[in-house]
Symmetry: C2
Subunit: 197 residues, 2 copies
DNA sequence: TCGTTTATTGAGCCGTCAATCAACAAACCT
DNA sequence: AGGTTTGTTGATTGACGGCTCAATAAACGA
């Protein structure tokens, strides 16, 4: 066995470079060469490690989803009670690591990719299912049967805030994003009992 | 002067074809040739009328935004009172013409385009400003100073529902989309007086 | 009829980019 | 040292797509 196993290092560098480049130029214009240069190696090496441009994109997407998932799980583990679980999900979604400009830009491009590439579609579907199930689990003790519909609202809201951030001219602000979604959550919880349906 | 001025006809055909093709393949893979073929003409003619691929994309984007804007204005003209104005905006946003799969797909790609092309960014910014100002105008008589923040929530919610629809496997359902956003609106309006902040 | 304007296209140039390959470099083992 | 595995790249290829252009067809006016 080699002493320095460079493969994972190279792959990680390429994945990070891909995220940045994709966010900046879109999957449309970004070339393997650009990504490789940013990662400090030749285009040939990128092909050597990932085989194809598409495979590299999917790896980048998996990485973003993995990091996000890990952060959510970590925050949930510390939460005591349903309200804290909700807060944990929101804060993880808009944390400094996930709510960065380039990551948000990459997300947007992944959505576009998902319209064509089945594997990308599958990955996004997994993310959405997990998010929904986490939300429902936290909401159920608070509002019972309403948990499903309310989870759908919050989920759409999170995606919407992400989408808008991709276009915003100023740097992403996790705090205000949490406040925005948090208001919807508070409304939905507060309405319990005030209205029949 | 020619009897039949084909130019506007050709341009409209190209714009519609572009929307469909973009939604299906993304701005990445779609070629001018594909769009032109769908519109029933040669790629050379598409270049003749629009000059460049990017100009064609922007024309398609303008068309989508124009149709949407006209529909909102039309619905607002018929509305009596703030509540009906809110409903009018929602229904126009998710009407059968705007909430079609290919149109939603095109929207998504326009967002990506806006990350690189300044003119696309400008167009999206105009759309967002108009939507917000319409929402605020309708909300102000109902909730006063809260109109601004609530409009931001509803706006993000609409975008989020659009985004999710682009990925959904079943056909877009305007009714359920209106219900989703409508619930947030109802919550926000209902909360008036129940909470201090 | 004939020239002029308008509409349209096939062919091709030019550039780009994903992917391949053969060769080189370096670390390791024996 | 010699050989083998691992890491890396420049050069090349093959394909493709945006865009141009010269040429054709058709509609019109005089």
């Amino acid at each position: 066995m080699r002493r320095t196993n460079v493969e994972p290092i190279r792959k990680a560098a390429l994945v990070n470079a891909a995220i940045s480049e994709i966010a900046q130029a879109g999957t449309l214009d970004v070339t393997v060469g650009q990504i490789a240069r940013r990662a400090g190696m030749s285009a040939a090496l990128a092909h050597h490690y990932f085989g194809s441009k598409e495979a590299l994109f999917l790896a980048a997407m998996r990485h973003v989803l993995t990091v996000y998932g890990a952060e959510v799980r970590g925050a949930l583990a510390l939460a005591r009670g349903p309200r804290e679980r909700l807060d944990a999900i929101l804060h993880a979604s808009f944390s400094a690591t996930n709510f960065r400009r380039d990551v948000v830009g990459a997300w947007l491009n992944f959505y576009v990719l998902a319209q064509t590439v089945p594997e990308a579609r599958r990955l996004l579907a997994v993310y959405q299912r997990r998010l929904r199930s986490n939300l429902v689990a936290a909401l159920r003790p608070l509002i019972g049967a309403e948990a499903g519909p309310v989870a759908d609202r919050i989920g759409a809201m999170i995606d919407g805030v992400y989408l808008r951030e991709a276009l915003g001219q100023r740097a992403p602000d996790g705090r205000s994003a949490v406040a925005l979604v948090g208001a919807v959550v508070a409304d939905a919880l507060g309405m319990q009992g005030h209205r029949p349906a």
